[in-house]
Symmetry: C2
Subunit: 85 residues, 2 copies
């Protein structure tokens, strides 16, 4: 089984109101040791073990581009792990 | 500088309508090689380098519990990395 962890973040310079709100909340709760919080989305994709790693990569790229992120304002990164079932 | 990556996921058994929708969309787009998709939230916390690792851990735990997750329905995991500035 392949486990693919995808993280989708806003591109630099894109306003992220959720992160702004969290940063403000941390200030008002007194957590001044935290310099900054960024937020994003997390996805975990599961593929069967009989696929090649390159097939997993290609499908992940396609799905990230078409479905899981908005390429105009978001970037994605992923890492693939092969796990024992 | 410490970089802490937090992932917040629904607990097992909690209905996740976003993940359900993504799984349905993948089926209708013909991505049958993907067995399952889980979704969650991602946060990146930045702490100054002069803190002890235990302080970073304690603050992260508190913030995850109070602000970044709903402990009734969500679980969180995090990993701490120390980076050169």
């Amino acid at each position: 089984m392949y486990k693919v962890e995808v993280i989708v973040k806003y591109k630099k310079g894109i306003l992220n109101p959720e992160a702004k709100t969290i940063n403000n909340a941390l200030r008002s709760l007194g957590y001044n040791s935290i310099k900054n919080v960024q937020s994003g989305k997390y996805f975990e994709l599961t593929f069967p073990a009989d696929l090649k790693k390159s097939e997993v990569e290609n499908t992940t790229d396609e799905v990230c581009h078409k479905l899981l992120s908005n390429p105009v304002i978001e970037d994605y990164t992923y890492k693939i792990e092969k796990e024992q079932e």
